[in-house]
């Protein structure tokens, strides 16, 4: 499951921020901000994607680089949200 989610996230990043197929261009741990991939509109796009794709609600307080600034972080954030939802 987790791997599939990570692939979905990577595909979204590839198609909407990176626009490329070649995996070398950004590693899962790379900062999206440092790579110049995310601007103020990009964050809103990313949040909208996570909410529709995974059916979760991203709280305003969650919209911080610690949760969203790399593919690894996004995947971990989505996992924790879904696990919390499942446990509840």
């Amino acid at each position: 499951m987790t791997t599939m989610r990570r692939d979905q996230i990577r595909t979204f990043i590839n198609d909407n921020f990176l626009f490329r197929e070649d995996r070398e261009s950004i590693a899962d741990g790379d900062s999206l901000l440092d790579a110049g991939l995310i601007d103020s509109t990009g964050i809103l796009e990313l949040v909208a994607f996570l909410e529709t794709e995974f059916g979760l609600v991203v709280d305003d307080a969650d919209i911080v680089p610690e949760n969203l600034d790399s593919i690894d972080r996004i995947a971990a954030y989505v996992d924790s949200k879904l696990n919390t939802a499942a446990a509840a």
Binding site: F19, L44, E45
Partner: protein, 652 residues
């Protein structure tokens, strides 16, 4: 105001000199529709396309001096020619016309190439000195008027626009990868580099001398600020006294820019700067004044209420064009051909339409507020840099970054941003404080995303080329000792102003319609005066252009005088998409066309197009990438791709 072209040396023998000059000046005929002239002698050819503004009867060019030792082709205006002529007459010079052109010839006779120091004007000229067999090519201090050159074989060719150089059989257009990377980082190539390989721009404030000994390009003026700690170098009078002198200086700068034998109009954006200029014009010449504005269909960009308020307050005869996205899209290929470089913004398009309106209304000259944001610190970037520096000084503070919320009140997507992301966008890492480009790093970060679209070939050619390092290398030696605001002002004034504001949004789009812009805020006296004004009087806490507001408060209605800065912006990618989308968009961005230009990754470009097409509001980076790639492709198609016949360009 005009177009100039010519050569020195032995030109390509396959085309007769007069025919070559005719072709060169013919390519820039839009700059000077009123008359054409050329002059050929052994080793030199000069040509001119004239827009008659001063001494309509006597100002024909190329012009020789009374002694017949010098020949000149000149684009622009020497605004202080009246005073300079008096000085030269006292020194025994003789004149046969009443033109500013002849003033250049006589000033050169007296002062040699240093004559440029005497000129208060916007100019690019080529002067042939018969005795020394030397050509001098010179350009005004801040870069209002353009000048390009290229050496091929045994000749140096020069012209107001690159398209004239491309008429020379030896000169072909090929995209310079480094220049492309610079444009997609800074919005323009770093002069003398142009977007085309082996075609150079004469940088602002420089002159070129070419003779038997070779070719020398040297600066004669450079913007400079006092060291931050050097209080003695600053104007230490009471702010009121500084403001009063500034007011008088601006009035005189406006007065000499009204010199013309044709009527002079004004652009009225609705902001502070153009309102000041228009109010000064009205005070100096209270008779009929025509003013011109761009209005936008889209309320996000529109400033009509302020334009109308100012026009009514001054009683001007006001004309407006309304700009819609479709207008931008329709004119964009022509604009790219005029500006001769890729664009990452569509801002030139409405101004292109505005110049066309001015021309239709029968005017050739307009005064505008250009330059005030650079000289008096009006741009939001200056506030942003000040706040970022304030935050960086106390990295632990949770309060200081809250001030970032006060930036860019007109950008909705930034206002809805979480505080933490706002900090991430603006604050960067701690070591940025030591970077001389500190003020501009967020802007450059936004542009960095465009590199994702570079094709494999372009990436390989660029290798580890770093445009930011290149820019750092061009900063003056004493830059690091200036006040941070002065540093930011320098970066805007020495680079973006000539590279984009005065060219892509200035000369090139207005001269496309033979309309000359004049800019009182860029009078050299105003610039020099402003460099000595203490930084805290320009950007007072977060009030931009404070001293300018103080100097001009009595000229303007309160609503304009106290108006916060509204930056000039125009619709970006969405102007090109949607139901009215012109067919060239898909052609230029097609797999085949992108592959042929071999600059960008064709698949990535397709994805960007799909994303923008899907209507999910693209952000600053996507917009810049879309406009940048589209314009690069159009530029390639227009100037480089020889598989497309020339005739199809002319029909387009």
């Amino acid at each position: 105001m005009c177009g100039i072209a010519g050569y020195v040396g032995r030109p390509d023998p396959t085309v007769p000199p007069h025919a070559l000059l005719a072709r060169m000046v013919g390519a820039i005929a839009h700059r000077g529709p009123d008359a054409r002239g050329s002059h050929v002698e052994v080793g030199v050819g000069l040509a001119h396309a004239r827009l008659s503004i001063l001494d309509l009867a006597g100002g024909a060019q190329p012009m020789s001096d009374v002694e017949d030792e010098l020949v000149l082709t000149f684009n622009g205006e020497i605004f202080n020619y009246v005073e300079l002529r008096d000085e030269l007459l006292q020194r025994g010079c003789r004149f046969r016309t009443a033109s500013d052109t002849e003033t250049i010839l006589q000033a050169y006779r007296v002062f040699g190439p240093d004559c440029v120091q005497k000129f208060n004007g916007d100019f690019a000229f080529a002067l042939w000195d018969r005795g020394r067999r030397r050509l001098m090519l010179a350009r005004d201090r801040v870069g209002v008027r353009p000048a390009f050159y290229a050496t091929r074989g045994n000749a140096l060719y020069f012209a107001s626009e690159i398209k004239a150089l491309l008429e020379v059989p030896d000169v072909a257009a090929e995209i310079d990868p480094v220049a492309l990377d610079q444009v997609l980082t800074f919005w323009f190539p770093l002069a003398p580099r142009t977007i085309f390989k082996d075609i150079c721009e004469l940088p602002p404030g420089h002159m070129l001398l070419a003779d038997e000994a070779g070719l020398r390009v040297t600066p004669y003026w450079r913007l400079s600020f006092p060291d931050a700690g050097d209080h003695a170098a600053l104007d230490r009078r009471a702010p009121r006294d500084i403001a009063d002198e500034l007011g008088a200086l601006l009035e005189d700068a406006t007065r000499i820019r009204l010199r013309a034998d044709v009527p002079v109009g004004a652009y009225l954006s609705g902001g502070l700067d153009s309102s000041i200029v228009t109010a000064l014009m009205k005070r100096l010449a209270p008779d009929r004044l025509k003013t011109f504005s761009v209005a936008f269909e889209d309320a996000e960009y529109d400033e009509r209420p302020f334009q109308e308020m100012m026009a009514a307050a001054l009683g001007t005869e006001h004309r407006t064009i309304t700009c819609a996205g479709a207008d931008i899209a329709r004119s964009f290929p022509d604009i790219v051909a005029h500006v001769e470089r890729p664009l990452v913004r569509t801002g030139p398009a409405p101004l292109y339409g505005l110049a066309a309106l001015v021309r239709r209304e029968g005017l050739k000259v307009v005064l505008t507020g250009e330059g005030a944001d650079e000289v008096f610190a009006g741009y939001d970037l200056f506030k942003e840099a000040k706040l970022r520096r304030f935050c960086a000084a106390q990295p632990g503070s949770r309060r200081r970054p809250l001030l970032l919320q006060r930036l860019y009140p007109y950008l909705p997507q930034l206002q809805t941003q979480s505080q933490r992301y706002r900090e991430a966008f603006f604050l960067g890492s701690a070591d940025e404080l030591a970077d001389p480009l500190f003020s501009h790093l967020p802007r450059f970060r936004t542009m960095r995303g465009i590199k994702q679209f570079y094709g494999a070939g372009l990436r390989e050619t660029l290798g580890d080329y770093d445009a930011l390092a290149d820019l750092r290398d061009r900063l003056p030696d004493d830059f690091s000792r200036w006040h941070p605001l002065s540093q930011a002002q320098y970066l805007e004034t020495a680079f973006l102003l000539p590279g984009y504001i005065l060219s892509s949004q200035g000369d090139r789009v207005s001269m496309a319609h033979a309309v000359e812009g004049r800019f009182p805020f860029l009078d050299p006296r105003v610039i020099d005066f402003a460099t000595r004004i203490p930084p805290h009087l320009k950007l007072r806490v977060l009030r931009e252009k404070h001293i300018l507001r103080e100097a001009t408060a009595d000229l303007l209605p309160d609503a304009i005088a106290n108006r916060p800065k509204q930056p000039y912006r125009a619709p970006d990618s969405r102007a090109f998409l949607g139901p009215q989308r012109p067919s060239y968009v898909d052609d230029a961005l097609s797999l085949a066309a992108v592959g042929r230009a071999d600059l960008f990754d064709a698949g990535a470009v397709q994805k960007l197009l799909r994303k923008c097409d899907a209507g999910r509001a693209p952000g600053a980076r996507d917009n810049a990438a879309f406009v940048g790639i589209l314009s690069t492709q159009l530029l390639h198609g227009r100037f480089v791709d020889t598989s497309i016949p020339r005739s199809s360009h002319e029909a387009a």
